[in-house]
């Protein structure tokens, strides 16, 4: 990152080369976010929602196009070893942008009102205060969520593309800080939302301190934070050996926190429950993709040489994560918490793929992330539709008999649950199969057996909800909002991808397996 200054200082300043074509997608998203801030400052209130949504979606589409065209032709390590644009980085970025676009559709849902439905109209006002009432009366909006989302997306894109632990740390913060705020902006149950935000923030900051301290130890060992230099230093086994492994583990802990792996998962259920549902969907999908991308990169590129030191520990983490996610989901009574525990279990399954440590490990992990991302965004978008006396009806008992009240919504949700379960002909099955097959090939048979048992347990949980929706009498005043084109598009996209990847997974599998080579 910083030109090496070991020994004599360079006599003249050498400007580093940056391949702008390669980083164009990220620049576009950062630029879009900046313009969004300007719109927030200058555009009249009544145009803001339309303007922001249009800008955000256009930015994301443009970024996707840039990834497919300009960045793809300019692969390599650029910006003085700070950013690496290679096969995995590109495909992770593409997935993140695509997921974000689908997630933004859900965030933009307004039903019949003028402002986004999921977000408070005045985040700064005290819940229930006169100021909040005044803001509502004046028709205030929280359109700042869209630029915030774009900032988070930019951070997520940089995360798996960083070739340097410091850049990775910066990306981690860039993606996290907007998410901390976004989770505190729910319109309903604002106290819960603010609490989620506080918890996420404190624990997130705590974990990034671990990441950074790990990076410091590695710096002490290798004399550099660049992943390729670290890999070389690891190969040569020079320097202070005692620093390396603790450093590696602390860095990995910081990343495991982001993916929600046990025992660093405690924030997940609370934050997922408290945050606005569309934000939950976006962050469940996007953060997981980005963090697993970064995890793959550090493990496969930098720390591969000492795999025997961290492998057993990550095995334990993977097993614990699957068991915790599966077992704890059994007794959940809140839909969003249940989906949160399911996300923990899925993180465990994905870790199984990561630990395969072969090319199939990369491609299957990627496939799983895509499959999980789309199904989870659609699932949370549906959660946002089911209401009871004005609030989101998140208690499971309120979902009883939904199949009768709203057959289509219940049917789609049931399909998504089947995908979470991993029933064949859904993407969930192909994804589980791919990671388990990769793990078996990588010698992780025991992990796979635990995984299969755990997915058996989670199947029980999901099918119980289907039973609840179809085989119970409707109770209470639960109703389903009629989605506008935004949510409809979001849910149908998520569902169609889930179905498509279940029936014809080969295109994505091929694409993923062609992009497994990390540049060093």
């Amino acid at each position: 990152m910083i030109a090496s200054m070991a020994g004599a200082l360079p006599t003249e300043f050498v400007m580093t080369q940056i391949s702008y074509a390669a980083v164009l997608p990220m620049l576009l998203v950062f630029g879009g976010a900046m313009i969004g801030v300007l719109i927030e400052a200058f555009a009249p209130r009544r145009f803001r929602h339309e303007a922001q949504v249009t800008l955000t979606l256009l930015t994301l589409v443009a970024a996707l196009v840039a990834i497919a065209t300009s960045a793809r032709d300019h692969q390599g390590i650029t910006a003085a070893g700070a950013v690496v644009i290679d096969g995995p980085a590109l495909i992770f970025q593409g997935v993140i942008v695509a997921l974000a676009a689908v997630g933004v559709l859900a965030m933009a849902e307004r039903f019949t009102a003028d402002e986004a439905d999921a977000f408070t109209q005045s985040g700064a006002a005290v819940p229930g205060s006169p100021r909040e009432a005044a803001a509502v009366r004046l028709g205030a909006t929280s359109t700042e969520v869209f630029p915030l989302t774009l900032f988070a997306v930019a951070g997520m894109m940089l995360f798996p593309a960083s070739a340097d632990l410091l850049v990775m740390f910066v990306a981690l913060e860039v993606l996290s800080l907007p998410l901390y705020i976004l989770s505190g902006l729910a319109r309903r149950r604002r106290l819960l939302s603010q609490e989620a935000s506080l918890k996420y923030f404190l624990l997130g900051a705590f974990s990034s301190a671990f990441f950074l301290f790990g990076a410091a130890l590695i710096y002490g060992y290798a004399g550099s934070l660049e992943l390729s230099d670290i890999a070389t230093a690891v190969q040569n086994q020079s320097g202070m050996d005692g620093l390396l492994i603790p450093g590696v583990l602390l860095v990995v802990v910081g990343l495991l926190f982001k993916v929600g792996a046990a025992p660093f998962h405690a924030w997940t259920p609370d934050v997922y429950q408290g945050a606005p549902s569309p934000v939950t969907g976006f962050m469940a999908a996007g953060t997981k993709v980005a963090a697993f991308g970064a995890l793959l990169r550090v493990l496969y590129v930098a720390f591969e040489g000492v795999r025997w030191d961290w492998m057993p520990i990550l095995w334990g983490v993977a097993i614990l994560t699957m068991v915790v996610g599966a077992v704890l989901s059994v007794t959940q009574t809140d839909m969003k918490r249940l989906l949160a525990y399911s996300s923990i279990a899925h993180a465990g399954f994905i870790l199984v793929g990561v630990l395969a440590l072969n090319q199939k490990g990369v491609s299957s992990t990627l496939f799983y992330l895509v499959a999980y991302g789309f199904m989870t965004i659609a699932a949370f978008a549906i959660v946002a539709l089911v209401r009871s006396s004005g609030n989101e009806a998140t208690h499971l008992s309120q979902w009883a008999g939904l199949g009768k009240r709203s057959p289509i919504v219940a049917g789609v949700f049931a399909f998504l649950l089947l995908a979470f379960t991993g029933i064949p002909l859904t993407s969930g099955f192909t994804a589980k199969f791919a990671v388990f097959a990769a793990a078996v090939a990588g010698g992780g048979t025991w992990l796979v057996i635990v995984g299969i048992i755990c997915s058996g347990i989670t199947a029980f949980v999901y099918i119980r909800i289907i039973v609840l929706m179809y085989f119970s009498e409707p109770a209470g005043d639960t109703m389903v909002m009629t989605p506008t084109v935004m949510s409809t598009l979001c849910i149908s996209l998520g569902t169609l991808v889930t179905l498509w990847l279940g029936i014809i997974p080969s295109p994505l599998l091929d694409l993923a397996s062609q992009s497994t080579l990390f540049l060093r």
Binding site: P246, A266, D270, T331, S397, A434, F460, I463
Partner: protein
């Protein structure tokens, strides 16, 4: 993984690509699948026409099946196995799973059974579900089931078989709970679901093991590689497959769900829980015969499971007063016979399938008869409330009677040819085995005769014990015609296929045949006479107890044995004692979203996990500082582990 390389070159040449009419086999799946999709998403427009469309599509699949079967019969026996490549499903490097269909005598036999019996039951349902407001959904599920079941039997690899396996489970689950507004019925699906999850875990592990050991999951590849694998691995795969088979086929120790599954509409019980889906386990064992032949231990376990279940089902069947549950117990017992035969090796495979075929006809026929009786008696299922129906429902009486004679194995009806062959095969061998298994099969035949006669006499003969407001009447034509056709099958199918040797020579290319020199330890005529004597004794005893003496309307308390049998030999109590109680004690406060979702009957293991979960979730106490502590604890443990390791 070195086997991977050697395998690629040893592709067995026995199967060839499908040509001619066989290449249209994809229609077998397409027709019912299209029907299911059309009816599910078609909306209310199709409320009227939907059921008829479903019936027609099911018959269309049947016609395709028959055409393929005819073309296969015309071919040389060595050229009857074809594969039809549909598309490349999971291409992942060296590991490549195709969605392909395997058309050979074994699969086409199943296709004929599933589509023919399935279509008849579709027709029957037109009458049976006449008044139901949700007919469209019902027929959609039925079509879905047919499609999934055909996927199971037609797939040429274990992975796709597993996809169909889940599909039939799902359809069965949806159909059991179809009348969810009836409170007792809503939770009935759960036990079925839980047992099947256990089975699925077995299946997944088996498939994973195959992948690890052989690098393939298609039948041909696995069979070719099996001969080089160690016996330990083959035994493990065999046992895991058996676990899956036990769950699907309601075999000991995962049999408990079948009785509860009778809560579904009767046509469903006939199609899924008698004729087709529950026999998928037998299909799986026979289809994997190469693996089982190489793993004698696994094979022995199959035989034991079969023998235990056949006796268990028979004993339970003697005490049930619920007409459908008694039939369910009998299904369990008959599938036990098939499992036993499938475990006996090459001498048994053909007869397992043969009995499966005849059983498909006579048991489906009897279930339809039971449906007709329930239809006439306002959904009454208690046999103590029946009696004397023979004169009022002549067609039902005759068709049911033929099924009754067939299942008991009275010559010349179907069961005689298929079941007696299994009994003979069970007596083949050396040492203690022929005696134990043979006697189990023999005694089972006697008990079968007793409980089936009991059921038949209590329903159709003796005094009328109805409540006053009931006016039994014969069912409409759409219900009786399928019953008649199935009854003709029960009567004649055995005679056509058995003594002529058609079934054994037809299946020989797939399952092989027993080389000569296998004589039962008792000679065949002796066995036949013994069996018939026992059957006669069973009928006589039933006649003595249930026709000569009057049947009380309220069940007497009964002996300890009777009470035990009524309670399914205490299996639920055992489940509860072994798994549930500890689970409850562990927590004392099980908080579930809804008690229906996980009632006591679901199974102890679920409650155990639930208990563990209820305890573990207390860690999630909402305090951010304790979350930070778990994180720090994690870090310390990880670093500590590292320190210990180094």
């Amino acid at each position: 993984m070195h086997t991977l390389i050697t395998l690629a070159s040893s592709e067995p040449a026995a199967t060839s690509a499908a040509t001619g009419v066989t290449s249209y086999a994809w229609l077998l799946l397409a027709f019912p699948l299209f029907g299911a999709a059309l009816l599910l998403f078609g909306g209310r427009v199709l409320d009227k026409a939907g059921p008829m469309i479903a019936v027609l599509l099911s018959w269309a699949a049947c016609v395709v099946g028959v055409l393929i079967a005819i073309s296969m019969m015309g071919a040389d026996p060595s050229d009857r196995s074809h594969t039809l490549h549909l598309f490349s499903w999971v291409p992942a490097g060296t590991f490549d799973v195709n969605a392909s269909l395997l058309l050979d005598p074994l699969s086409i036999t199943f296709v004929l059974l599933v589509t023919f019996v399935g279509s008849l039951i579709h027709v029957y349902s037109l009458g049976y579900m006449e008044g139901d407001s949700d007919k469209r959904r019902f027929f959609a599920y039925l079509n879905l089931f047919v499609a999934a079941m055909l996927t199971v039997v037609l797939s040429d690899n274990y992975l796709m078989l597993y996809a169909g396996w889940e599909g039939v489970g799902l359809a069965s689950y949806l159909l059991i709970g179809f009348w969810y507004h009836k409170p007792a019925y809503a939770s009935a699906g759960n036990k079925a679901f839980f047992a099947n999850r256990v089975g699925d875990v077995g299946m997944s592990i088996a498939i994973m093991l195959m992948f690890v050991e052989f690098g393939r999951t298609d039948f041909a590849g696995v069979n070719a590689a099996a001969s080089q694998a160690s016996e330990g691995i083959l035994t493990a795969i065999g046992l895991m497959l058996l676990l899956g088979a036990c769950a699907k086929s309601a075999q000991f120790p995962l049999q408990s769900w079948l009785g509860d599954a009778m809560a579904g509409p009767t046509p469903v019980s006939a199609l899924i829980h008698a004729a087709t889906m529950v026999t998928a386990g037998v299909y799986l064992v026979v289809r994997s015969h190469v693996l089982f032949d190489l793993a004698p231990t696994a094979q022995l376990v199959v035989v034991i499971v079969g023998a235990v279940t056949l006796l268990y089902g028979a004993v339970v069947g003697c005490a049930k007063d619920d007409l459908k549950k008694a039939l369910a117990a009998s299904t369990m017992s008959q599938i036990g016979y098939m499992m036993l035969a499938a475990g006996l090796g090459p001498i048994g495979y053909a007869f397992a399938i043969f009995h499966l075929l005849t059983h498909g006809f006579f048991k489906a026929g009897m279930f339809l008869g039971a449906g007709s009786v329930m239809h006439a008696m306002d959904d009454q299922v208690n046999m103590r409330r029946f009696g004397g129906l023979a004169t009022l429902m002549k067609i039902t009486w005759v068709t049911f009677g033929l099924g009754w004679l067939a299942i008991m194995g009275v010559p010349p009806f179907a069961g005689f040819w298929s079941k007696d062959k299994i009994i003979e095969a069970a007596f083949v061998g050396e040492g203690w085995r022929p005696w134990v298994f043979g006697l189990a099969a023999l005694i089972g035949a006697g008990i079968t005769a007793f409980y089936m006669s009991r059921l038949f006499f209590m329903t159709f003969h003796g005094k009328r014990r109805w409540t006053d407001d009931q006016h039994p009447h014969e069912a409409p034509l759409s219900m009786t015609v399928p019953m008649i056709i199935l009854a003709v099958g029960s009567a004649g199918l055995g005679l056509i296929l058995g003594p002529t040797g058609i079934i054994t020579s037809w299946l020989e290319p797939v399952v092989g045949s027993a080389e000569g020199g296998h004589e039962p330890v008792l000679s065949v005529p002796v066995l036949t006479v013994l069996t018939l004597l026992l059957v006669a004794a069973g009928i006589a005893l039933a006649w003595w107890r249930y026709l000569r003496e009057s049947v009380p309307v309220v069940a007497p308390v009964g002996s300890l044995a009777t009470r035990a049998a009524r309670r399914d030999l205490f299996q639920d109590d055992i489940n509860e004692g072994l798994f549930m109680r500890p689970g409850i004690h562990l927590t004392r406060s099980l908080v579930f979203a809804d008690n229906k979702g996980i009632d006591g009957g679901v199974g102890g293991l679920a409650a155990f996990v639930g208990g563990l979960s209820a305890r573990a979730r207390r860690v999630q106490n909402g305090f951010v500082r304790s979350y930070a502590l778990t994180m720090l604890g994690g870090v310390v443990v990880i670093l500590g582990a590292l320190w210990v390791v180094q």
